[in-house]
């Protein structure tokens, strides 16, 4: 059955572009969405290595406080001061949330594959697309540059709560220029992502090829599209919030600073501002950001899984509805980060209800995945294993949300390692598993070469066990009242928990080392991997109807005509799978 769709071929023809000329246009300031997607993924790779190394230093210090870190200690024996620990933590969180979990699954894969999956030659606004990457790259440089200034980077966490973030250098080391660079970096990042989100939305709505109705979009495109809508609203709020923060810091305004603040026994010349205003603005962005990080993963897994179960995913429309519902609900729950902030306690109950309700679409999605594996002809590859691992860690991380969604329990667990374990599982590890699954799945299409499957499977097995050893114990620590964001655990009641921290440190270093398998595989396969066919996984969506890698205009001058949805695997009486662009 076909659904009438808007004729967009004429528009696509108008956007037809010529092959890029010259090195700069081809590889640096490219307008090609595929090059921009790869640039985003390369940036995310640099960022994730940086963020991971920072976390190793933190974990080393927490597990073995007395140990000197040779690489750093030789230069400066007092390097692991409490403020340096907090600076590492702040930069780890900021780099991971913004420059890895947002860029890789959304901007990276989305850029490369969204236009191809809708059958377009490029994004709707290629110049905005190029600007989006380079502004994001600039944001990364600005952030990392704060490591090289005398006072070092900001230490107020990735949430940058005011007044700590707003008052300036009186608040302590890192709160001078480092914090300003942080705010400038995040403001720039917002601009980059707004340009990207506009592009994704316009491309999805306007550049779909003939026959590509909205219901025939692959799940991954639905996820990127939904994420773009979330991002458009979320980053539109964080951008002015960062501008106000910068003004408080450099122009003497008092948006987030109330009267009567005393630093160094001096009353500060501010009045009328509210620290809670920053929290509201930040979390109005911050909670949807969780879904910006994880929805692409949900879409990627839903897209990849049927190609390996060789049967259609259960309830495709239900799944899309759930993704949209999660996107909508993500804007109604930000206050659950603020149950104990001093806001009206009645609002805590109101924010708690949608937070608990959001578990319903999340549960449906999870059950659809699990139910889709039942009775399938599951092919285990590195890509499908990471999808299965995604489901497992998504469940583990999601379940602990039941606790934190309730104000009456949050009053005990807020500010403990339970929260750290929860969000690392659900938005850190799950999103990373989505990225890994996407990489193993799409690498042949992106580079025309296969990744090594044996290395990939070892990478999965060791990482999967490793992340459980790191993040599950954090829940136990949280239940025991172990406070987060502490540079050292000197409190009496925390002493019995130190062995758990040692265990987590060992697991983190081990799991970190395992990632070498991935990096080696990635680089080796890029140059030496076995040549890939056009459709090595026997998948159905449009990216598998073109060459590996695709030509600059994606389909070699032709416009694919779509005759069916992407979920046509193993239908009774049909061949094993039916291509979206295949004949009727």
């Amino acid at each position: 059955m076909t659904t009438p769709v808007r004729e967009t071929v004429a528009k696509i023809t108008e956007l037809k572009h010529t092959p890029p000329q010259g090195f700069l246009r081809k590889y640096v300031f490219s307008l090609d969405h595929k090059v921009i997607g790869r640039q985003y993924l390369d940036l995310a790779l640099v960022a994730v290595i940086t963020g991971m190394v920072l976390s190793w230093l933190m974990r080393l210090h927490l597990g073995y406080p007395a140990a000197s870190i040779p690489a750093l200690g030789a230069a400066n024996p007092s390097l692991m001061t409490p403020e340096f620990y907090l600076q590492l933590m702040t930069m780890h969180g900021t780099i991971m949330v913004f420059f890895v979990l947002t860029t890789a699954p959304f901007a990276g894969f989305g850029n490369f594959f969204l236009p191809i999956q809708v059958g377009a030659e490029d994004m709707a606004f290629p110049r905005f697309n190029m600007m989006s990457f380079w502004v994001t790259f600039l944001a990364f440089l600005v952030l990392v540059s704060s490591f090289f200034i005398p006072d070092g980077p900001a230490l107020s966490g990735w949430t940058a709560y005011a007044p700590l973030s707003a008052i300036g250098k009186d608040a302590g080391p890192g709160q001078g220029l480092g914090q300003t660079l942080w705010a400038v970096s995040i403001a720039l990042f917002c601009v980059g992502q707004l340009l990207g989100a506009l592009n994704f939305i316009a491309t999805t709505l306007d550049l779909r090829t003939k026959g590509m109705s909205l219901t025939r979009l692959p799940f991954s495109t639905w996820a990127w599209f939904t994420t773009s809508v979330i991002g458009l609203i979320a980053f539109s709020v964080l951008l002015p919030a960062c501008i106000l923060l910068i003004l408080d810091r450099v122009a003497g305004t008092s948006f987030f600073l109330p009267a009567g603040l005393v630093f160094n026994d001096q009353v500060q010349p501010h009045s009328g501002g509210s620290p809670l205003l920053w929290q509201h603005l930040f979390w109005f962005f911050g909670h949807p950001e969780v879904y910006i990080a994880i929805l692409p993963g949900i879409g990627i897994v839903s897209h990849i899984l049927p190609a390996f179960t060789r049967k259609p995913l259960l309830g495709p429309r239900v799944l899309i509805g759930c993704m949209v519902a999660i996107g909508f609900l993500s804007y109604t729950v930000w206050g659950h980060h603020m149950f104990l902030s001093g806001m009206n306690p009645f609002s805590a109950i109101l924010f708690s209800i949608p937070t608990l309700i959001i578990t319903i679409p999340a549960t449906i999605v999870t059950l659809l995945w699990i139910g889709s594996i039942y009775g399938s002809r599951l092919r285990l590859t590195a890509a499908s294993l990471f999808c299965l691992g995604f489901v497992s860690v998504f469940v583990s991380g999601g379940i602990s949300g039941f606790f934190l969604a309730q104000p009456s329990i949050d009053t005990y667990l807020h500010g403990t390692y339970f929260v750290v374990g929860h969000f690392h599982f659900v938005m850190g590890v799950a999103a990373m598993f989505g990225i890994f699954a996407g990489t193993y799945f799409w690498f042949p299409k992106m580079y025309g070469r296969m990744m090594n499957e044996t290395l990939g499977k070892w990478h999965f097995a060791l990482t999967f066990i490793g992340v459980y050893c790191i993040f599950m114990p954090m829940h136990y620590l949280g239940l025991a009242g172990n406070v987060r964001r502490y540079a050292s655990f000197t409190d009496d009641y925390l002493q019995p928990l130190l062995p758990v921290h040692k265990f987590i440190t060992i697991a983190a270093l081990f799991t970190g080392a395992v990632q070498l398998l991935f990096f080696v595989n990635l680089i080796w396969s890029r140059f030496k991997g076995a040549p890939a066919t056009d459709n090595p996984w026997e998948a159905t969506s449009l990216e598998w109807s073109t060459s590996s890698p695709p030509p600059f205009d994606n389909f070699g001058g032709r416009h694919p005509v779509v005759t069916r949805g992407p979920n046509e695997y193993g239908a009774p009486g049909a061949s094993d799978h039916l291509m979206q662009a295949g004949g009727a």
Binding site: V262, L314, G342, P345, I349, G371, G375, A480, V500
Partner: protein
């Protein structure tokens, strides 16, 4: 490979859940009146979410075990997507409803009702990186606070003006929170610089200090003892070291403590 995955998931699930069930690392003993409800809510949530956790993980493991490498004709899950939607809406929906109804009552008891009459009020000032506690003294009145008079150098942590403010003269300032057992305590939280938080795991209570706001919290401690109060809101380089002790005393010990402090 599929069987290996299934076994790994099953082992990780059983070990993870087992450690929760055996309480190997668990909440410290509760020493507050309202903590009982919180502990009950945590236990109920643990049981309900534990069933979902173990069920979902084991189903994943079982289906992977059964279908990996299979060449049998594919089978659709009985009923298709409908049982998934019904299960999620009904099971999780009931869970959400029950948890909200019961949990809201506990939350309301903590934060939405006034402290009982006769509660002992203690004023708390947080700063980078210490807590200070103030008792009204024999006159039962707190002296007014003036930020301009706050001075660590003069130990004037609350910005009092005893020279001109008679109510401030007998205010008792302490670096630890001494309280009588089984008597409601009302804390009024102030911060003079950045955000901080009040967290005593045994009292099951946590609350941010927000500069510019005076935030009341109340509780009743039920067991004499000394408990650590720690800061849980990132407040700067000394955050990890920002702490004080809560000393829960018998009535007579507390009266004696107050007398001793007043004479200092």
């Amino acid at each position: 490979m599929g069987k290996l995955f299934a076994v790994t998931v099953a082992i990780l699930t059983i070990v993870s859940a087992g450690i929760f069930m055996l309480h190997i690392w668990w909440l410290p003993p509760d020493v507050s009146v309202l903590g009982t409800g919180i502990d009950h809510q945590i236990n109920e949530t643990m049981m309900a979410s534990g069933v979902l956790f173990v069920g979902a993980q084991l189903a994943l493991a079982a289906f992977v075990w059964q279908s990996a490498g299979s060449s049998a004709p594919i089978r659709i899950f009985p009923g298709g997507a409908t049982p998934m939607v019904v299960t999620a809406v009904v099971l999780v929906g009931i869970e959400v409803l029950v948890l909200t109804l019961v949990g809201s009552k506990i939350w309301a008891g903590l934060f939405m009702v006034q402290a009982p009459k006769g509660a002992l009020q203690v004023d708390v000032q947080a700063e980078q990186f210490a807590f200070y506690f103030r008792y009204a003294g024999p006159d039962g009145k707190f002296g007014a606070m003036d930020p301009a008079k706050i001075s660590d150098a003069n130990n004037n942590f609350f910005g009092l003006d005893p020279a001109n403010d008679t109510t401030a003269r007998d205010d008792i300032i302490s670096g630890s929170l001494a309280i009588p057992v089984n008597r409601p305590i009302l804390l009024t939280l102030h911060s003079r610089d950045v955000g901080h938080a009040f967290y005593v795991p045994q009292l099951r209570i946590q609350q941010d200090f927000v500069p510019g706001l005076v935030i009341p919290i109340h509780f009743t401690a039920t067991t004499v003892g000394k408990y650590e109060l720690v800061c849980t809101q990132l407040c700067g380089l000394g955050h990890y070291n920002m702490r004080a002790y809560v000393e829960v005393m018998s009535d007579s010990d507390f009266a004696q403590w107050l007398k001793t402090q007043a004479n200092q």
